[in-house]
């Protein structure tokens, strides 16, 4: 049985066999904070009945109830029971939970969108530094609010492994609202979608809402990225979006490693390529070790393929969040192999990653000499750069210039160093 309300003035329909069904979204229980759980029951009479139990009742109770009314009225719902169990969720979280609960019960083409935080407008560049990118579980608002203040280069709202299958539906609304409302404090706004083809549906929640970069997990072929791009183009056209959207495929299988070069050059908007070692070692049927011997080949493949394609190779996360020394060692190894960034799963890892990817003092001093020599040669109109008795090749100059840029960007060198 299907109730169709389109014949009146209501633009939604109740899903099949859903009368009396209760839509539930959000988290509740021990340790849950800054979230809310919403139960929505569609009724045919009795008006709107909103029940709120909130930890912040006396300070925000009225505004939460008003928001709930606004959302119900936006979806043209006139009779319903809404129960909100709130542990201090902010508006964009509450709105995502209510919308998800409603949409579990009714079909509608409408979305309830809060205004976009102006900080979140604008694109990023293909060659922006991506030393650190912090994973945030896509359905855990508590971890989102302060993530940006730890200054990672990128923040990843993760719809894939960090979200339980039964929570995937509601997580999309939360991630969409976060992309619009959450202050990322300058971090690149990244989302890890689900594996292709399922992940293609995630894009509707991301592309119209200022996502800068899409991580494509378990990527095994250029074809995966072509599918992603054609969906992105479709959505961009539909919503009139001009922003660039970069892709970061994640190589997580033997097949992916063998196709790394094909993937790296699959499209112009592939900015970087990451390796995911947990899944890769599982695929090999081996264990992930601290030394990483088992993944040495794969890491080299990803680095070499990326460099060949002119994109950034990005290393896997280091999972022991209490071992900062181990992480630092890991970053140095990673940098030595040619990686230009690494994932993080805890904000305390960010600084260690930045410090160790940043050029060291000796490296900076050497680069300064080369750049100075290059500038002098250019001024004098010399075709050949020499430092002391040594000739300097063009790639060496380029590397030195990169090192200087990196040193400036990581605060290791004053940007006016040449004047001093």
């Amino acid at each position: 049985m299907e109730f169709n309300f389109l014949s009146t003035f209501v633009t939604f329909k109740i899903k099949n066999n859903c009368m009396g069904k209760i839509g539930i979204a959000g988290n509740q229980g021990k340790g849950v904070k800054s979230d809310c759980q919403v139960q929505f029951e569609f009724l045919t009479e009795g008006g709107i009945n909103i029940e709120l139990n909130s930890k912040v009742q006396v300070l925000y109770g009225k505004s939460i109830v008003k928001l709930a009314h606004d959302i119900l009225s936006h979806f043209e719902i006139e009779n319903a029971r809404l129960l909100i169990e709130d542990t201090g969720a902010i508006d964009f979280v509450i709105a995502a939970r209510i919308e998800a609960a409603i949409k579990k019960v009714i079909d509608t083409t409408k979305d309830f969108l809060l205004p976009v935080n102006k900080e979140n407008l604008g694109s990023t560049n293909k060659d922006d530094f991506r030393f650190s990118r912090l994973y945030l579980p896509g359905n855990s608002p508590k971890l989102m609010l302060n993530a940006g203040i730890h200054k990672p280069n990128g923040l990843i709202l993760d719809l894939e492994d960090a979200v339980a299958p039964e929570k995937k539906f509601e997580a999309r609304f939360l991630v969409r609202n976060a992309l619009r409302s959450l202050n990322f404090y300058g971090a690149e706004r990244m989302v890890r979608i689900n594996q292709i083809p399922g992940g293609l549906d995630d894009l509707e929640f991301l592309i119209p809402h200022n996502a800068n970069l899409i991580l494509v997990p378990k990527c095994e072929s250029a074809e995966d990225l072509h599918k992603v791009n054609s969906k992105i183009e479709e959505l961009k056209t539909k919503h009139g979006i001009n922003n660039d959207v970069w892709l970061m495929p994640i190589i997580e299988s033997a097949k992916g490693v063998m196709n790394a070069y094909e993937i790296a050059q699959a499209a112009d908007n592939v900015s970087s390529m990451a390796i995911g070692l947990e899944d890769y070692t599982a695929d090999l049927g081996t264990l992930r070790t601290k030394e990483g011997t088992e993944s040495f080949f794969a890491r080299n493949m990803v680095v070499t393929a990326s460099k060949a394609a002119g994109i950034q190779p990005i290393d896997s996360v280091f999972s022991d969040v209490s071992d900062m020394e181990g992480l630092a060692e890991n970053v140095r190894t990673s940098k030595g192999l040619g990686f230009e960034g690494m994932g993080c799963i805890h904000p305390r890892q960010i600084k260690v990653i930045h410090d160790n990817f940043a050029p060291g003092e000796v490296e900076i001093e050497k680069a300064k000499k080369i750049v100075v020599a290059f500038n002098e040669a250019k001024e004098k109109g010399l075709g050949v750069v020499s430092l002391g008795s040594k000739m300097i090749d063009a790639p060496v100059v380029k590397r030195a210039q990169n090192t200087i840029t990196l040193a400036i960007n990581t605060g290791k060198l004053d940007k006016n160093w040449l004047d001093k």
């Binding site: 930890k55 300070l59 302060n146 730890h150 305390r348």
Partner: protein, 520 residues
Amino acid sequence: MKKYDKLVVNAAGREVPTIINGEEHIPFQGVGKYKPTGRRYGPKLASCADFPEDGNKQVESLKEALIKSGLKDGMTISTHHHFRNGDLIANQIFDIAHELGIKDLRWYPSASFPCQEKLIEYLEDGTINRIEGSMNGPLGKFTSEGKMKGLSVLRSHGGRYQAVQDGEVKIDIAVIAAPTADFFGNANGVNGDTACGLLGFALADSQYAEKVIVVTDNLVPFPCIPWQIHGNYVDYVVKVDKVGIPEKIISGTTRVTKSPDRLLIAEITAEFCEKAGLIYDGFSYQAGAGGTALSIGNYFGDILRKNNWKARFIRAGSNKYPVELLEEGLVEYILDGQTFDLEGVRSMRENPNHVHTSPFTSYNYHSKGNFAQLVDIVVLGATEVDINFNANVVTHSDGYLLHGIGGWQNCLAAKTTIMPIPLFRDRIPVIRDEVTTICAPGELIDVIVTERGIAINPLRQDLIEKTKDSGLVIKTIQELKDEAEAICGVPEKIELSDEIVSVVKWVDGTVLDSVRKVLT
């Protein structure tokens, strides 16, 4: 008797009663404005002729000691929180009082803890009329809902000493739980199976109470060395099986935080202190309890190590973190007011440079100076701060009384007071237009450090000047408040009853603010 009467608006702009539980009190007049007159209070003189010639003051039980002390209706009974949430004695005292049918007692603890939740039944049946001390957890909720018969009074640790010394609170019977004592009543907290550190909070009580009972589970032959409590003040000694649970002096708030947000705030605080030039060879600081404060202590340690400097002293609340700095030689002395873990207890027992202090030496405002004012940097928490830098530490933004003042008000005397606080907690902004309860006048708070920026009190132009090109994110307090509200939304104004359930005393004994009953 009315719980309170004759309301006036004090110098902080707050309406406070001048008659509290039938006695006159002076409204707050401004920081350093009220000058006491008169002399210290003195209990009745005693004579050796009235005490056992052999010095043995031991009696059979706590009940006997209380009866011999003349326990009767309306008396003031004091206890101490050296065992924090591991106290076993306070509840027993009121069990006995209840059994004897005694009514209307005033309980004067140095702090209360959730382990004393049981006393709610005695507050309800009239055995206890009121609490004058901190009201934590369940007792705070009980008080906030207006269920206490008398009006509760909140004092700082220093204010508690001052009130006793000045004769504002006359203690009839003080019961001191001591991990080690002799039959004469000499007692300490550093020895014995239940060692908890020190007994400084009981000093005023031993000096000024009419009757003093020492309860111990480790009775040693005379002399009990060291004697943190002098037996010469003591009337009775009682031996019990167990006097407290020392493991419970560790509370959740005395571990270094693992929260990345709080660690960031701690890091920024230390960086601020370094860049503002507040840290130097020979400086001093107060390391409070609380995860953020402890992390700041660790970062201070890093700065000292890096510069090859030493701190002259730490005022504590000690636990293993300051002890590590002491043992590494980065700090010369710990002047300790209470120990927060067993490492603190061990250090105090073994290390002559880990010195026990009392609210008299550290905090008493009616005195010829105190140690708190000699500290360079003090780091304190707060439940709320307002745009005039006034701070609250006793109530939450929903009006509930949930914390005591502790040494917090007294520490404000330090040369620089810094409050590292998150901009919001579970949506609740910490910086408000006006604090729910004023516990600290804003002129005493110098710096607010949040994860999203630092606000410096305009009174501290020196700090503003020193940090202006430091690369630190300095904002006005109004900007921080606006930023929190942009994230959390503007909070609604809360409604509280007109009825007063508690008053907050300032360090000089004047009444700083009233706590209103919550609407339930």
